[in-house]
């Protein structure tokens, strides 16, 4: 009797969660952020429903400030796997000219990401949205449910969250309510990388070290991905060998200097590294408990 490894058990749990949603929810969607966690989540979903095609569409909330390589990877992946991909842009935000440079990360993220997500969920009437968040990412997520209940206004109320026992999830909703479902809740960052390695999952090349044009701002290395990036006086992009541990809007995502060009090298670097992946995200530093606040407002 061979025992199951930790990755097998995590995989089985994630697949079980996705199947529960598909069996019980009327109109599910998978939020696809193009990052490594999304890649793992998509891979698990393909396994969960094989040989049937994915029984739900993917939704990407495009802030219009994503790395170009992310968009290329997104479109290539959808094409290769024959997936139904919905891309939503908050046109009101675009009309207002919202951008991370003039409005700051908080306003930009709220308008283009949080509001954009709510618009897309409302427009399509999705009652369940898969997200790739993990409990190990951040302290306030350690208590997040796998099935997180959101009000008709998409707000997260800690008091209304349901106890989750055994493998029993309550998917019942009152009119207007919806669920955010996190199949990767119990995965750690190392699990994600090991699984990508074990399964040979494709990820955006930005995760691998390469010479890229960057400027240094507030201690973070910001990649100059396109000509929209306003340079400060005297600032000049330098080519440095960098990679990204997390992917978001390019002006808000710090790179790290690295030589890791392969998966084993990334894992090796990660084991030695002393910086958590969320540090690359500028939004987490906007004041104490900021993730918790964002979550209550409807951000993942």
């Amino acid at each position: 009797m061979s025992k199951l490894s930790h990755l097998s058990r995590l995989e089985a749990e994630s697949i079980h969660i996705m199947r529960e949603v598909v069996a019980e929810c009327a109109h599910p969607v998978m939020l696809y952020s193009i990052g490594k966690d999304s890649s793992v989540m998509l891979h698990l979903a393909l396994k969960a429903f094989y040989p049937a095609p994915l029984p739900f569409p993917l939704l990407h909330v495009d802030t219009t400030w994503k790395f170009r390589e992310m968009i290329a990877f997104r479109d290539a992946t959808a094409r290769r796997l024959g997936l139904q991909l919905l891309v939503h842009v908050n046109q009101e935000g675009v009309a207002m000219g919202i951008n991370p440079f003039d409005h700051g990360s908080a306003v930009h993220t709220d308008v283009m990401k949080t509001q954009g997500l709510k618009q897309a969920l409302d427009r399509h009437g999705f009652d369940a949205a898969f997200g790739g968040a993990r409990r190990d990412e951040e302290k306030s997520r350690a208590k997040e449910r796998v099935f997180s209940l959101r009000s008709a206004q998409h707000r997260w109320d800690p008091k209304r969250q349901r106890p989750e026992l055994w493998r029993l999830y309550n998917t019942r909703l009152t009119k207007g309510e919806s669920l955010r479902v996190f199949p990767l809740s119990n995965w750690t960052e190392l699990d994600i990388w090991q699984y990508i390695y074990q399964e040979g999952i494709e990820i955006v090349p930005l995760y691998f070290a390469r010479e890229r044009p960057v400027v240094e701002r507030d201690g973070a290395l910001i990649m100059v991905d396109d000509e929209r990036m306003p340079l400060e006086p005297g600032e000049r992009p330098q080519m440095r060998k960098v990679r990204f541990r997390t992917l978001g809007c390019y002006p808000l995502t710090g790179a790290i200097e690295s030589d890791a060009e392969t998966l084993p090298a990334i894992i090796e670097e990660m084991l030695a590294s002393r910086t958590s992946e969320r540090q690359g995200r500028v939004i987490d530093r906007d004041g104490a408990s900021s993730m918790e606040k964002k979550k209550q407002e409807g951000y993942f």
Binding site: M1, T174, S289
Partner: protein
């Protein structure tokens, strides 16, 4: 920063391969606010090097601002998450933490210990395979320690680590530790916990958490981390019969029809016979699809898709089980319920019940009792309030395939959902079906004799009194019925004279009519037995053949022939109804014993000699016999 970087493996590929074999162990930590639980978990995370520099920097900052350790690192701040609870200084929900050792990954359910948070502890314990119970060395085994241990035991956790914390505050005294350990073991044995490893430690100072402490040379056992790294994992249902609740039917085209689910117990191989429950239809496994590949075998804990050889009707909510040892199916259960809602649980109100992948409507009968989680006392109660635990009978509107919770959490645990608010309001453990038959498959879904009798707390049977007129049959039968009635049994007495006033009013006393009379009475007795009753038949029934016919209508052990034996002369002397006199006078024809034969039983179950026994003694003899024959002697026992 004092944290050492992890040693880098020389051969990364080899290391990655070894990581693929890592085991996963889920455990729960139980302790009250002051036991140092958050400090202990914070230290486990800190010492296992899963924290990064920026998190440590935040910890240093928080420790200066909010810490309780005079500016030194306050590990509790690592795990106290939500802003609201940080302000209150207590944790108010279940948090999940992650760390790893050489051989294992761990998921820790971190739950607060307040009485009002039974709900949280039960939630955390439901997925845990081991419990770390914290005790403050200065305070020893407290009420809350007992409560935590009871809840952990209730939820089926059998492996316990008793972490005696704050040893630094009792001068690392061996005596203090041993006395706490002894007291705990005594208590734990009472609630069925015997697999206990006690470790003296100081979470604050790190003694015996990762490194053996020089401060306690008298302790030669493992440190907490060393123990967690090697403690054998539980069986996880691997050796039990195969079970898989069907989650979803995968039917992308007419070529493929698979049943997706997570194997809840046992294993299954291609070719294995399986049965779908509750329908009872059987087939064999044709394919096991695991991801995009086919596998020869699926193990407990794996998510797979099974294709069967036959086109049998299976849908979400059904269970596929090993054909040789299928799960029980029932719609009437004994269960323990933990109530989790501010609104009390009301018997009689229908709730939605989700067990495995099946959702049914469930109604709870009046509570048997609730349990005081501090003293384990059973208390009478009409309803359950938030965080209360009670034992109930519950019925479902549709049959449910299940295993007792002690055998399998995934097929024996359930949640209750409020129909209006849609909230999860309760959790429960199925213990037993209240139907009697061991192998309750689809045949027994209909309410049958066993079920009806079980409901009445008895075994259905016929007590067939035979003997001459005037022997005392009716008197004795009457006494026996009174005794049974007094014992709470459900009976019916068919008396020859009474039946002849109605059912058999068209019959006379010819032999043919006597046979028909007995046939009718035997059929009625059979129907009443099927209704679950103990049927007393008091009839002369002079012919062996008719008594044999009556016996043949009933199952083995259900027919008790009671010969009320009196000499004809004695019966004739008593002649309570004056019938012998009339018969002798020729006023009655075909009277048994006078001008119609009586064939005495050759081997009756009970032979009563009325010359030696009074009617009361005869009735007592019958009751004793019924006790021996297990008709009434044993209290109803639930079938696990």
């Amino acid at each position: 920063m004092s944290a050492k970087p992890d040693p880098l493996p020389a051969e990364l590929d080899a290391w990655l391969a070894s990581q693929a074999d890592k085991d996963l162990l889920r455990f729960i930590t139980c302790g009250s606010v002051d036991d140092g639980k958050s400090t202990l978990i914070g230290r486990l995370l800190y010492e296992s090097h899963v924290l990064f520099d920026d998190q440590l920097a935040a910890l240093e900052q928080d420790s200066r601002r909010l810490g309780t350790q005079g500016g030194e690192l306050d590990f509790a701040l690592l795990v106290d998450g939500l802003a609201a609870e940080r302000e209150q200084g207590i944790t108010i929900d279940v948090a999940y933490r992650f760390f790893a050792t050489e051989h294992r990954k761990f998921i820790v359910a971190d739950t607060p210990g307040h009485e009002q948070y039974t709900r949280n502890m039960v939630t955390g314990a439901s997925t845990a395979e081991l419990a770390v119970i914290l005790v403050d060395a200065r305070k020893g085994v407290l009420t809350q320690t007992r409560r935590h241990s009871y809840l952990v035991s209730l939820l089926g956790i059998r492996r316990i680590v008793l972490a005696v914390n704050k040893m630094d505050l009792v001068d690392y005294s061996e005596q203090a530790f041993r006395s706490i350990e002894r007291e705990y073991r005594e208590f734990a044995a009472q609630i069925g916990l015997s697999d206990i490893v006690a470790i003296p430690l100081s979470a604050l100072r790190g003694d015996n958490v990762i490194e053996a402490a020089g401060t306690m040379p008298w302790y030669r056992g493992p440190t907490l981390m060393a123990h967690l790294d090697v403690v054998p994992p539980p069986q996880r249902g691997a050796v039990r019969p195969f079970r898989m609740p069907v989650q979803w039917v995968n039917r992308p085209n007419s070529e493929f029809r698979g049943f997706a689910g997570l194997v809840a117990a046992g294993s299954v191989r291609v070719g294995d016979p399986v049965v779908a429950l509750p329908s009872g239809r059987s087939s064999r496994v044709a394919r096991i699809v695991c991801g995009s590949k086919d596998a020869a075998e699926a193990l407990a804990g794996q998510s797979v898709t099974l294709v069967l050889e036959d086109e049998i009707d299976v849908s979400r909510g059904d269970m596929l089980a090993a054909a040789a040892s299928p799960a029980a199916v029932s719609d009437l259960f004994e269960a323990t319920i933990v109530w989790m809602s501010e609104e009390p649980m009301l018997p009689g109100r229908p709730y939605l019940l989700k067990c495995g992948t099946r959702m049914v409507s469930a109604t709870v009968a009046p509570l048997k009792h609730k349990i005081n989680v501090n003293t384990l006392e059973k208390l009478a109660a009409r309803q359950l309030e938030l965080n209360e635990i009670g034992v109930v009978n519950l019925s479902t509107d549709q049959p449910l395939a299940f295993d007792p919770y002690v055998d399998n959490r995934d097929t024996g645990g359930f949640i209750l959902i409020d129909r209006i608010s849609n909230g999860t309001v309760g959790a429960g453990l199925l213990h037993a079906s209240l139907r009697r038959a061991q192998d309750l498959h689809w045949q027994t879904l209909d309410i049958d004799q066993t079920a009806r009798a079980a409901q009445k707390n008895q075994r259905a049977c016929v007590l067939w009194f035979t003997g001459l007129s005037g022997a005392g049959k009716s008197t004795i039968a009457n006494l026996v019925e009174k005794r049974l009635f007094g014992l709470g049994r459900h009976t019916y007495l068919l008396d020859g004279d009474n039946v002849r006033h109605g059912l058999c009013r068209d019959l006379g006393f010819t032999d043919a009519d006597r046979v028909e009379n007995i046939r009718r009475v035997a059929e009625v007795a059979r129907l009443m037995t099927d209704a679950g009753l103990i049927v007393l038949v008091s009839f002369i029934s002079p012919f062996r053949a008719e008594r044999a016919l009556a016996r043949s209508l009933l199952g083995p052990g259900e027919f008790f022939e009671i010969f009320v034996d009196t000499a004809l002369a004695e019966a004739e002397r008593r002649d309570p109804k004056g019938l012998y006199r009339k018969a002798r006078a020729g006023q009655i024809r075909n009277f048994t014993g006078i001008d119609s034969p009586y064939e005495p039983p050759e081997s009756p179950e009970i032979h009563l000699d009325t010359r030696a026994l009074s009617s009361e003694e005869a009735a007592e003899a019958i009751i004793q016999h019924l006790r021996k024959a297990a008709v009434i002697d044993r209290e109803w026992v639930f079938i696990p």
